[in-house]
């Protein structure tokens, strides 16, 4: 089945020609009246204009957020949870529309937005609605008359800067815990993918009190910087890359506020020899695990873009894996049969091609793919790259830098120690995969790989109830899981004496 393109007959959604910022519960034109064009990577053509904001717009959003924060922070958890559940219900009722929009804005296949992006985003609001209901402080009896209470308080107003690879889901990851914990948010979407969250704001705008969520669009330097640098935010959360991550920390240091940073990785996917011991479901599952590098066109911070294969099975495994990769269906992202869609932007496409180029120059061998794909039917100018397998060694640039495309670099390892050494020979430590039939190998490998998440005999699962975040240069802090509430809360300690007698010191 193929969904009709937005703004055509039979389409699930029609975009307006222009979108403003969402501030204080209303859509507000940017102060300077400027807009930027938003192209769809599916066709390369502009489909709407979006507010090009700057510091003045950020200030308006901060005013709205500060106006709302005291009341929202004191709103009972049961009521905040009720509203978050309502947000989830409305998203669910409009799942197809939001999925089509996400596909159109980002280029990812509709089967992913229908089955993953939207259901996971919806569940995230429900998960944190549940968590906040169960949240408790602690108390300690210090002596017969003295009690120490630990109460959780919201931080106040927080800034969140969202990436373009899972625009709505990454917004949900940041919004749900922040709102559940009682914070108000000023959120800046990525300028590549601003559309769906604005449709979302239209849908849920009347559920949350005005000013609780504010969305300001624009470019990083013009709108992101004044948000990250503002003394009126109590925390900044950012997903992106290392140089901007350092810049965000630098700005945060000016105001002495915390940051959470998710800065990507170069995730190793380890295939031990025993996976081929039997021709069974598990063998197929492991091959699927290899092909996961193509999920979301490789535009995933945890893309398993380094496959490390036991040398005992290297040739036979790679033959099967190549065959599996060649079966990946590339096509119109709005077709439910499409498995890989378009890269999110032209510069992203160009960057991937530049990495394919340096891979070849360094002597890596292209096993399959390695080129831009020109699709027909109006998709000629979309940004499509063939799923690509490189063979090489771990010191090559294509093994060391996240290409953020459907490109996997494959090397062999000789024994367990070599596998771990290669897996850890990277600046990053966000995700990793381990595939083996042996529980001892699986556990040992999982503990020895320096990464925040080690998928074991699975990959690319993102449940709300599992902590996600990086070791090494992959960032600071965690996302998802109820521990995320801590990232959006202060601890208030009330140290109370119930003893009427003086201490006797003075």
């Amino acid at each position: 089945m193929r969904y009709a393109r937005p703004n055509t007959p039979g389409a699930k959604i029609s975009y307006e020609s222009r979108y403003d910022n969402f501030i204080g519960g209303e859509f507000v034109a940017p102060v300077k009246g400027r807009y930027f064009e938003n192209p769809s990577p599916v066709t390369g053509q502009t489909f709407c204009e979006v507010a090009r904001s700057d510091e003045a717009d950020i200030e308006l959003a901060l005013n709205a957020a500060h106006g709302a924060k005291d009341r929202w922070g004191k709103t009972p958890a049961a009521e905040r949870a009720r509203l978050l559940n309502k947000v989830a219900d409305v998203m669910e009722a409009h799942l197809e529309e939001l999925a089509v929009s996400e596909t159109w804005d980002n280029g990812k296949p509709i089967r992913e937005t229908l089955a993953a992006d939207l259901p996971l985003a919806i569940d995230h609001f429900r998960y944190f609605a549940g968590c906040i209901r169960a949240e408790e402080g602690t108390l300690a009896e210090l002596d017969e008359h003295t009690v120490s209470y630990h109460l959780k308080e919201p931080l106040g107003v927080v800034g969140q800067i969202i990436p373009w690879n899972f625009p709505l889901l990454m917004a949900a990851w940041k919004l749900a815990p922040a709102l559940a914990a009682g914070n108000c948010v000023v959120l800046k979407p990525a300028e590549q993918t601003p559309a769906t969250i604005l449709l979302w704001a239209k849908l849920i705008g009347s559920i949350l009190p005005p000013g609780v969520v504010n969305i300001v669009n624009g470019f990083g330097f013009e709108a992101g910087k004044p948000l990250a640098q503002s003394p009126r935010v109590a925390k900044v959360a950012f997903t992106g890359e290392t140089t901007t991550g350092r810049l965000i920390m630098q700005y945060a240091s000016e105001n002495i506020i915390p940051v959470t940073l998710e800065l990507g990785g170069k995730s190793p996917n380890l295939f031990f020899a025993d996976i081929l011991d039997h021709d069974d479901d598990f063998r197929q599952k492991a091959l699927e695990g290899f092909a996961m590098f193509a999920l979301n066109q490789g535009e995933v911070c945890t893309c398993p873009s380094r496959a490390l294969v036991d040398k005992k099975i290297y040739g036979s495994f790679l033959e099967l894996a190549t065959e599996r990769t060649r079966r990946i269906v590339q096509g119109d992202p709005l077709d439910t049969g499409t498995m890989i869609g378009a890269q999110a932007s032209n510069d992203q496409l160009e960057k991937i091609l530049s990495y394919i180029d340096i891979g070849k120059k360094e002597g890596a061998r292209v096993r399959t793919g390695g080129e831009r794909v020109r699709l027909g039917d109006g998709l000629e100018n979309g940004y499509y790259v063939a799923p690509t397998i490189f063979e090489g060694h771990n010191k090559m640039r294509i093994f060391q830098e996240e290409i953020f495309g459907p490109v996997v670099s494959v090397a062999s390892f000789d024994g367990f120690d070599d596998a771990i050494a290669q897996a850890n020979d990277t600046l990053y430590g966000l995700g990793a995969g381990v595939w083996t039939r042996d529980v001892h190998t699986a556990f040992r490998a999982g503990r020895n790989i320096a990464a925040g998440r080690v998928w074991t005999n699975c990959y690319h699962l993102y449940p709300a109830h599992a902590a996600f975040g990086g070791y090494k240069q992959s960032g600071i802090g965690r996302e998802t899981h109820r521990m995320m509430l801590n990232h959006y809360q202060q601890t208030k300690n009330l140290l109370v004496s119930y003893d009427p007698k003086p201490m006797g010191f003075f």
Partner: protein
Amino acid sequence: MTESPPAISATPAALALIAALEQQHGPLMFHQSGGCCDGSAPMCYPAGEFKIGARDVLLGQVGGAPFYIGGDQYERWRHTRLTLDVVRGRGSGFSLEAPEGVRFLIRSDVCAV
């Protein structure tokens, strides 16, 4: 240190963009990013905007602007020679060229040993 860093150079299109951005923003600087999303891409800022750390490596100058890379990343990139180019595109981090509808891009060659 006896070994000199690999050279960074710039295409005419990149030099023209640097000149145009300099007109708007004054003197510039570059820092090569790593990691995901817009990682592996060069970031352009007003000079002094980004605090250069003790372990950052100065690769050279492009159009009069210094171009830096993180020390750890330099160790993994030092066998390649970089060329700053520019392509049509949309935004990236806080890099200055985003509103122009273009994006700086790094192209690489392997250094002759």
